[in-house]
């Protein structure tokens, strides 16, 4: 640091300081609830999930199929031409073996999040989801996978209507 400045402010605490009344502190929790309007594109995307298929969008100017669908193409700013039903199979673009949950709890069996390029969409166009029914060692970039859906009556129009993607034996599809 500049030679002139020698002493830096900041009062570090240890977790133990929060016990035994050493320091004053208080907890609070924000009650923040929402009902986000799904609108045209995402509304339709969720409806398709409920019916058991993945929906994309097609831009006629860029000749590109994207997922999830959106009403405007972010590249040419033209309105998207049409909804496009897609396959529920795809290719693992990248993945991870995650041993920590969203609220930082350690888990023994890792979750396997992955970006899955969806067949029928343009290259590199995929969605975030999880892999299942797979050995950790078997997972690799380029692996062919297929969606495993909840039974129709349990589906509610959500990304979690797909339980996970599992490997396609022999990559036949």
């Amino acid at each position: 640091m500049t030679e002139k400045i020698t002493q830096f402010p900041g009062t570090p605490l240890r977790e133990a300081d929060f016990e035994g009344g050493k320091i004053l502190f208080r907890h609070d929790r924000m009650k923040a609830e929402y009902a986000w309007d799904t609108g045209i594109a995402i509304g339709r995307y969720l409806a398709a999930l409920k019916e058991g298929y993945l929906l994309g969008g097609y831009c006629a100017t860029c000749r590109k199929t994207v997922i999830p669908p959106r009403t405007v193409c972010e590249w040419c700013f033209r309105p998207m031409e049409a909804f496009v039903p897609l396959e529920d199979t795809g290719t693992v673009n990248t993945y991870s073996l995650c041993y920590v949950t969203w609220d930082v709890k350690r888990i023994k069996e890792p979750e396997i999040p992955a970006v899955i390029e969806i067949d029928g969409a343009s290259p590199l166009h995929g969605i975030l989801h999880k892999l299942g029914e797979v050995e950790q060692e078997a997972v690799h970039v380029g692996m062919r996978v297929q969606a495993v859906w909840k039974p129709a009556e349990e589906r509610e129009g959500a990304i979690t209507d797909i339980l996970y993607f599992k490997p396609i034996e022999g990559g036949a599809k």
Partner: protein, 153 residues
């Protein structure tokens, strides 16, 4: 605008929340201010000699000149109603049957926002002298609620 058609069957809205759970320290000033309130029942202000301002509650910096404030002084427990309101709205968007009588009590160049007690709303006026009523020492925990309310003197 859009070439895509809206699907009236589509779920109109997605319900969700934004989980925010917080743990706040009181800060260097808050630690000292609320410990004095809790242990000695004293309300501290801090004075900026350059700007000639005495902040209540006491803070460690002057917002006007950024000087460090180490001249802390007991400002007593009396003040005057600078303004007040009868609050009916509750956080769930409804109306409370029993409104809260809320005031900003001027002490030195600052003051405290709190309830008024032992007084009818009709009797309250701007400028009314009031005094802090603290909870008994054993009930105090180091919080703004260690102060029960201000009452007319």
């Amino acid at each position: 605008m859009s070439l895509l058609k809206r699907d009236p069957q589509a779920p109109p809205a997605w319900r969700g929340d934004l989980p925010v759970s917080s743990r706040y320290t009181f800060g260097l000033a808050g630690e000292r201010f609320f410990r004095a309130l809790k242990d000695e029942g004293v309300i501290y202000g801090s004075h900026c000699p350059r700007c000639e301002v005495t902040y209540v509650p006491a803070r460690i910096f002057c917002e006007r000149c950024m000087a460090e404030l180490d001249d802390w002084r007991d400002v007593g427990t009396r003040g005057e109603v600078h303004t007040f309101t009868l609050l009916f709205a509750d956080l769930n968007g409804g109306l409370m049957d029993e409104p809260e009588l809320v005031a900003f009590v001027r002490i030195e160049d600052g003051g405290l926002v709190h309830r008024l007690g032992e007084v009818d709303p009709e009797e309250v006026y701007i400028g009314m002298p009031v005094e802090a009523v603290l909870k008994p020492k054993e009930e105090r925990e180091g919080s703004i609620t260690d102060l029960a309310y201000f009452k007319p003197i």
